[in-house]
Symmetry: C2
Subunit: 335 residues, 2 copies
DNA sequence: GTCCGAGAATGAATCGTTCCAAACTTGTGG
DNA sequence: CCACAAGTTTGGAACGATTCATTCTCGGAC
């Protein structure tokens, strides 16, 4: 049925300990023996039983990653960065999609605890502090991603959305716009609140610039289109000359509305900038300027911190904050 | 450090065997004892070590799922269906994203083999027959999803793309269109070829209808827009009166081009139907008709088959093919 | 009062790998 | 020729949950 080290050892004429050494500390074993063992492994098609290895080691060689939404490119890029970094340390990443549901999030945490993961990266939805504490007591470190922890007892890696909001608005001002509208919502979403806050701060430094807040019920294309239609319905004098959308989906909706039957021209009549820099952003009718987050770098950094904490559980938690980047495309081009 | 059944047993004043019974065959144990054991479990914060359980059982309680692209809603919905079905059997699903890369696919298969997964669902990219054979020999069944297996030694669950192509074109004919264009490519992609084939078959039954094939280099928005611009540049008489796009991204690109400055009206001048029914489809400027696949049902069914095969490895492989569904929206509305 | 059997609880064996102290081998210097 | 060190290899204990043959307990039948 199942080929074990014992079978490999028998065929190679060595002890099981030696087979283990060949796989885990090759430098301890003579080349001739190593060769024989490898031959036996291939001939028998031996594949190590991870459960046994884990049982002995006390914890697994996998890192659990729980994200809010696998469909969001931000998280898939983050996951990719995490995987690549984990691979360097011989670890693999198991991806869990909480889909912004507390019960799904909890069941992944249960699973990861049962599996004695090497560590857990989580973009939390519900209140997970109690659970993370349990994991920590069990020797499983956790790092929060895309969210700063309220208490600083866990490490976190996030992006400065306030700075991102500032970047977007500074750019709009740079190209000469003065009447800016922020479209997005609800403000309960931290990212929305922070981006708006960043926009407000920059506007406060420029007395000649005004900022209007157009609230949406969600961050979707349809909501963006409704907001765009509202703007279109106004007197020309009452329209903003630039729009900062809380994310690219909103921006795309706004663009569709403004562009309908060529009513208004982007960027001539109204400049438009989004947030997240999703693939669709560069593929829309008018390629969209946006704010890009270094998603892969976040994942990579989070894994680095996780590995450090796993090696030395007494290490003090760290909060890393990255700064987003402005991507200029046609929707805010020229004057 | 780590709380084991032994600790629980000591606190509850019973043997380890009884603790195991409480967790795995509660009917074998008296209520009074069960109560004491549960109290001890909670008090000590005991969580079963999955590695030990697995080692004993010979295989894990997880199903591995390898998809071509986690960002594709088709696969996330499929994964959701699989998870829900697996949960009913007390299994969990581990998601791996091959991202259409053979090396990533291979490393997930390695991982799943090391972990002695309960079974593997895979939407294959490279040639995985040799590897699946190995898994099978080791007692790990595999089910192919979204692809019929060339040889019938593995079960598979897929969608009939030929039928889907037929559905789309029948609908266009039903609303009175006669000059149909299929936009998509490259034909090497099985889905593209099948959808085109389905379209051809239906057209062959209607002598009054013509089918034109407009090839694209990829299934992206940009390629779709280029195709749309080409059509727009033609003499009005040379334009089709209906377009069947190989997927929704292509359709969105086509729509953007046709709609630019209100040049052509969809569906009055040209009717348009896509494929996949992605979220964006209903959110585009003109809500898009599309062909929907029962993604969740595919995942659910694949898990059912997998569990059956895991229970009885001698079971003959089955090929299940689902039929897609027509979703009518504004882009093909009325006459 | 004894015997029987059903139900409940026990505990030793088991899974496959890793670790490590001990045993073995080889080569070198005295 | 022996002692010794360095380099290799060995074999058994350990990890923690599950299983199952065995033992125990208790109530009822005779």
């Amino acid at each position: 049925m199942s080929v074990s080290v014992k079978d490999v050892a028998a065929r190679a004429g060595v002890s099981v300990g030696t087979v283990s050494n060949v796989m885990n500390r090759p430098e301890k074993v003579s080349p001739a023996v190593a060769e024989r063992v490898h031959e036996a492994i291939n001939a028998l098609g031996f594949v190590r039983n991870d459960a046994a290895r884990q049982l002995r080691a006390g914890h697994s060689k996998s890192i659990g990653l729980i994200v809010l939404d696998v469909r969001n490119p931000f998280f898939t890029d983050l996951a990719r960065g995490a995987e690549d970094e984990a691979a360097l340390a011989g670890l693999s990443v198991i991806l869990g999609n909480s889909d912004e549901k507390a019960d799904r999030e909890a069941s992944y945490l249960d699973l990861f605890e049962q599996q004695r993961m090497h560590g857990v990266l989580i973009s939390p939805f519900g209140d997970v502090t109690a659970r993370l504490r349990r994991l920590h007591d069990r020797g499983i470190p956790a790092v929060l991603v895309d969210r700063t922890s309220a208490d600083t007892s866990y490490s976190s890696v996030s992006v400065d959305d306030v700075a991102g909001g500032g970047l977007a608005v500074e750019h709009l001002i740079d190209i000469g716009r003065r009447a800016i509208a922020f479209v997005g919502g609800p403000e309960e979403i931290r990212q929305v609140a922070d981006r708006l806050e960043g926009a407000r701060r920059v506007v406060a430094e420029h007395p000649e610039v005004s900022l209007e807040f157009i609230r949406t019920r969600a961050l979707s294309v349809i909501e963006g289109r409704e907001a765009g239609n509202d703007i279109l319905a106004r007197e020309p004098a009452g329209r903003p000359d630039a729009i900062f959308a809380a994310n690219d989906l909103i921006a795309m909706g706004v663009l569709q509305a403004l562009n309908m039957q060529g009513a208004l021209h982007v960027p001539r009549d109204i400049a438009l900038i989004g947030y997240d820099d999703i693939d669709f952003a560069s593929a829309s009718v008018v390629p969209l300027s946006s704010i890009r987050q270094q998603s892969a770098l976040i994942g990579k950094t989070a894994v680095q911190i996780l590995i450090e904490e796993a090696d030395d559980p007494t290490r003090a938690p760290r909060q890393v904050v990255f700064h987003p980047e402005l991507i200029v495309r046609a929707s805010t081009a020229g004057e």
